[in-house]
């Protein structure tokens, strides 16, 4: 179980983005998290993956705090894969930074071996996102947090990527948190949809600017 218990987080000198937040994903479970942008979903993703340390509360993975300095059992996939690859490295090196996937994993993600000898700027977002996934789809990964993972991709690539990820998660009992504003997508892939960030009832009229608040 990946658990956040009464987690609070804010950046320097800003109001709380998350305040006393509880959240959990079980092994092998796919949880959908919908909601409008700017409400802290991405911050939650980063806190759960250990990229950000919460000021209060704790994140635990299977009962233990997230380990430091080793391959983390909780891995985060971002919306923009091009930012997660060192632009000066060939993709072979970037992928190997995580683990060395076997040919079957590449095949499932439809990754052409030729991509590995290229640089990130030579590939498209859809191609890079699949390489980013191959990098973390290791047996050591217990939970995968997909923050708008396929928001930049066309429907065909999106379906292909989710097919590969769900297949891998099922085979390895990996828990997935899927953050997306696309309800239809979450209905397709998630076992359970968490409404923490979704506005209750019919969507209220558009809120105005932050400055006025």
């Amino acid at each position: 179980m990946l658990k956040a218990e009464s987690v609070s987080f804010c950046y320097d000198n800003t109001p709380w983005i998350l305040e006393g937040f509880d959240f959990g994903v079980g092994p092998g479970e796919v949880v959908g998290l919908p909601g409008p942008s700017g409400q802290g979903k991405s911050t939650l993703a980063k806190v759960l993956a250990g990229h950000l340390a919460p000021q209060q509360g704790a994140v635990t993975c299977d009962g233990r705090p997230l380990p430091e300095g080793v391959f983390s059992p909780v891995q985060l996939i971002f919306q923009h894969p091009e930012l997660t690859m060192n632009p000066r490295w060939k993709l072979r090196d970037s992928v190997a930074e995580g683990h060395t996937p076997d040919a079957a994993a590449f095949k499932r993600l439809n990754i052409e071996p030729a991509w590995l000898s290229r640089y990130p700027h030579e590939l498209s977002g859809g191609e890079l996102q699949r390489l980013a996934l191959a990098r973390v789809m290791s047996p050591q990964t217990r939970y995968l947090i997909a923050d708008e993972m396929t928001a930049m991709l066309d429907p065909n690539t999106q379906a292909l990527v989710w097919d590969a990820v769900l297949h891998w998660a099922k085979a390895n009992g990996v828990g997935i948190l899927a953050i997306s504003h696309d309800r239809h997508l979450l209905d397709r892939i998630a076992h359970r949809v968490d409404e923490s960030f979704a506005p209750p009832g019919p969507t209220p009229p558009e809120t105005t600017c932050r400055a006025a608040a």
């Binding site: 993956a49 250990g50 990229h51 300095g69 080793v70 391959f71 983390s72 909780v74 891995q75 985060l76 971002f78 923009h80 930012l83 997660t84 690859m85 060192n86 632009p87 000066r88 970037s94 930074e97 995580g98 640089y119 700027h121 990098r135 973390v136």
Partner: protein, 287 residues
């Protein structure tokens, strides 16, 4: 917007049709210029530096392309030797600055908030002092002369580079690929070596090269004002300040030609740094 005319084959073969090819050529030409300068200074000998009254105050001619001064000294030899001396001071200042800025920039970005505050305040302090005043003060405090100039130039030029390094490291620490690398189990040392160093090295080199023109101009400026090198050694600052006495009487070449050489040398360092940036930046190196 019909098909663009194809550029001539020669230009294509030389590779000057795109930004990177051009930058490569410019880089080569700049390096060739500096090599020529150094070789010329080494092979010229000191004959042109001794007084030669029969040939005094000659305008530029075939034998003396830069003319001669009121003691009959060959201005070309003096200019070349002077520029080499300036390059030497620039190199020294750049070396000292690079060490100082790399150390302070890294400290500032990695050792926590308090160190950062101290270092940034120090940088602000040095930057806020008028440059020439600082140079004169340090050079004066160190007893003037060659040592004074070298120390003054060396301790006053590291600030900008230190800032660049600090900002680069801070930005890289937040970069997504570095965050991911950490979660993939890589140690801070590994990340510094494999991710950060290759990013900072080119920035550092370019910053260093762009530091040369400053150092050269400032050493010339200090010498011109009389705080610097002794008048016996040829140096651009001395040449220019001497020529001030003669320029109103029509000996234009004494000021113009050494001055232009200084300008060209300084500008070429600038061009060199910028071409290097075009080549090493992944964004522009493709164009």
């Amino acid at each position: 917007m019909s098909t663009l005319a194809r550029t001539p084959a020669l230009a294509e073969r030389l590779g000057i049709t795109d930004g990177r090819g051009r930058a490569m050529w410019v880089l080569g030409l700049c390096l060739a210029y500096f090599a020529t300068l150094l070789l010329a200074a080494a092979f010229m000998g000191d004959a042109g530096l001794s007084t030669d009254f029969p040939n005094k105050k000659l305008a530029p001619c075939f034998e003396f392309p830069f003319g001669t001064d009121w003691l009959g000294r060959d201005m070309l030899v003096r200019t070349v030797k002077g520029l080499c001396r300036s390059l030497g001071i620039g190199l020294l200042a750049a070396t000292v600055s690079s060490v100082v800025s790399a150390a302070l920039g890294t400290l500032s970005a990695t050792m926590g908030k308090r160190t950062d505050a101290v270092v940034t305040t120090l940088i602000d302090l040095v930057m806020a002092t008028p440059h020439l005043v600082l140079l004169i003060l340090v050079s004066f405090a160190c007893g003037g002369g060659a040592t004074g100039v070298i120390i003054a130039v060396a301790v006053s030029h590291w600030t900008r580079l230190a800032r660049i390094i600090r900002a680069e490291i801070l930005q890289l620490k937040q970069a997504e690929f570095v965050m991911v690398s950490r979660k993939l189990g890589r140690s801070p040392w590994w990340i510094a070596r494999r991710h950060m160093l290759p990013h900072i090295a080119p920035q550092f080199t370019i910053g260093l090269i762009l530091l040369f023109p400053h150092a050269i101009l400032h050493s010339a400026g200090l010498t011109f004002l009389g705080f610097g090198l002794s008048p016996h050694n040829p140096s651009i600052g001395i040449l220019l300040s001497e020529s001030m006495r003669h320029i109103s009487t029509g000996y234009w070449w004494l000021a113009i030609l050494p001055g232009l050489s200084l300008l060209v040398t300084v500008k070429l360092f600038d061009v060199l740094g910028n071409s290097l940036r075009v080549i090493t930046d992944p964004k522009t190196s493709q164009e």
